[in-house]
């Protein structure tokens, strides 16, 4: 069972993000190249964590589909760095027992001949503890 009692303080500590710095301009979400594949967008992560509305984020699709491309982090005019907060929410999930997104057993059937090792190690780093 996913523990949804993750606090704003936990997430701010893990990520180093201060949600109060956000001026709600929406630029992070406007520049996100993966907008369509995310059910919650970077500005919503900032806003919802700020308000303590964290459970929906822990169960979101977006923590898995975020590309970790840092476009939102680079282009935020207030250096809020939303990508770091999204990563912290993902970590708050995969650090729990039984909540890995990817298992070593899943890998063989995902392999193709040209797939670089980098794809596998980075998937483990993002989706597994």
């Amino acid at each position: 069972m996913l523990n949804t009692k993750i606090s704003k303080e936990d997430l701010e500590r893990i990520s180093g993000v201060n949600t109060r710095k956000c001026m709600k301009c929406g630029k992070c979400s406007a520049t996100c190249p993966n907008f369509d594949a995310m059910d919650y967008h970077p500005h919503q992560f900032i806003d919802m964590v700020d308000k303590g509305n964290i459970a929906p984020l822990l169960e979101s699709k977006a923590i898995w589909t975020c590309l970790s491309c840092m476009a939102c982090l680079q282009r935020c005019p207030r250096s809020v760095e939303p990508a770091k907060l999204i990563e912290a929410v993902r970590l708050a999930v995969v650090r729990q027992q039984g909540e890995n997104r990817l298992a070593a057993e899943d890998i063989p059937e995902l392999l193709d001949e040209d797939l670089p090792q980098q794809a596998i190690v980075s998937a483990f780093r993002k989706y597994k503890k």
Partner: protein
């Protein structure tokens, strides 16, 4: 000039060409790349949270070994470069993180950010110099229109990576000019290809890589160059539009006349 060199997992396996052409070209330019002994995989993606310590130790060990030799640490794969440079930056700027890292390190391997991390492209620009490189080209790649794909890892976060302007970079275009070809600027050159989604949600990797490749085709590119094996794989395997994707070191070796093994 001699560097400590960190190849990383993929350059020893699926991306051998990226590695081999780099070493051969460097030699032709008077640069020696001495591989870090017993290097370990960097993990392929940097975890920004400062309470992730163990996942960063492989980078710290490579950094400490370069320091002990009095050499800068040369990287080539975009992902390794991003992970190692950001780890180094965190050690320099976050005392608490640095202390925790050093608690894991042997007493003879304490590390405080002394090493300079240099990407191969930066070495070409800042140490060799693009003018010198140009003068050493024996097979200029005339009439070739090349799209330089930066992706996200070489440039961001801009303040930390400090390779170039993160929104309007020119280092790879200058490289293309130095080897005698024509650079093609395209809108998606510093937008993510979605490579990290390859094993999680292929449809995302497909739609992102298609956007990148079609953007380059639209501007009339003959090929795309990259420094990242995952970008290369993703742009080739997951985009519908077809365009050759080549490691920049392959074109470098070709221009310098060292592509074929003597």
């Amino acid at each position: 000039m001699k560097y400590s060199y960190y190849p990383g997992c993929t350059l020893k396996t699926k991306a051998k060409e990226l590695n081999n052409y780099a070493i051969r070209s460097a030699a032709a330019l008077g640069i020696e790349m001495e591989e870090v002994e017993n290097w370990q995989c960097c993990g392929g993606v940097y975890t920004a949270s400062t309470d992730e310590i163990a996942t960063k130790l492989s980078s710290v060990r490579a950094l400490a070994q370069a320091r002990d030799k009095g050499q800068d640490l040369l990287t080539l794969c975009s992902a390794c470069h991003n992970v190692i440079k950001r780890t180094n930056n965190e050690i320099l700027n976050n005392e608490d993180f640095s202390m925790k890292v050093n608690n894991y390190m042997g007493s003879d391997m304490q590390y405080h950010g002394e090493t300079k991390v240099v990407h191969y492209l930066e070495m070409l620009r800042d140490v060799v110099g693009f003018d010198t490189l140009k003068s050493k080209v024996v097979n200029p790649l005339k009439n070739k229109k090349i799209a330089a794909y930066y992706g996200c890892l070489l440039l961001r976060p801009g303040e930390v990576m400090a390779m170039d302007d993160p929104e309007n970079p020119q280092i790879m275009e200058d490289f293309i000019k130095a080897i005698g070809a024509t650079p093609v600027i395209f809108a998606q050159r510093n937008e993510c290809c979605g490579g990290y989604q390859t094993l999680n949600d292929k449809s995302i990797a497909q739609s992102r890589s298609e956007k990148v490749v079609s953007s380059a085709v639209k501007q009339g590119a003959d090929c795309i160059i990259t420094a990242c094996p995952l970008c290369r794989y993703n742009l080739e395997a997951n985009a519908v539009t077809e365009l050759p994707v080549i490691y920049f070191t392959e074109l470098l070796a070709q221009a310098l006349g060292v592509k074929e093994v003597q």
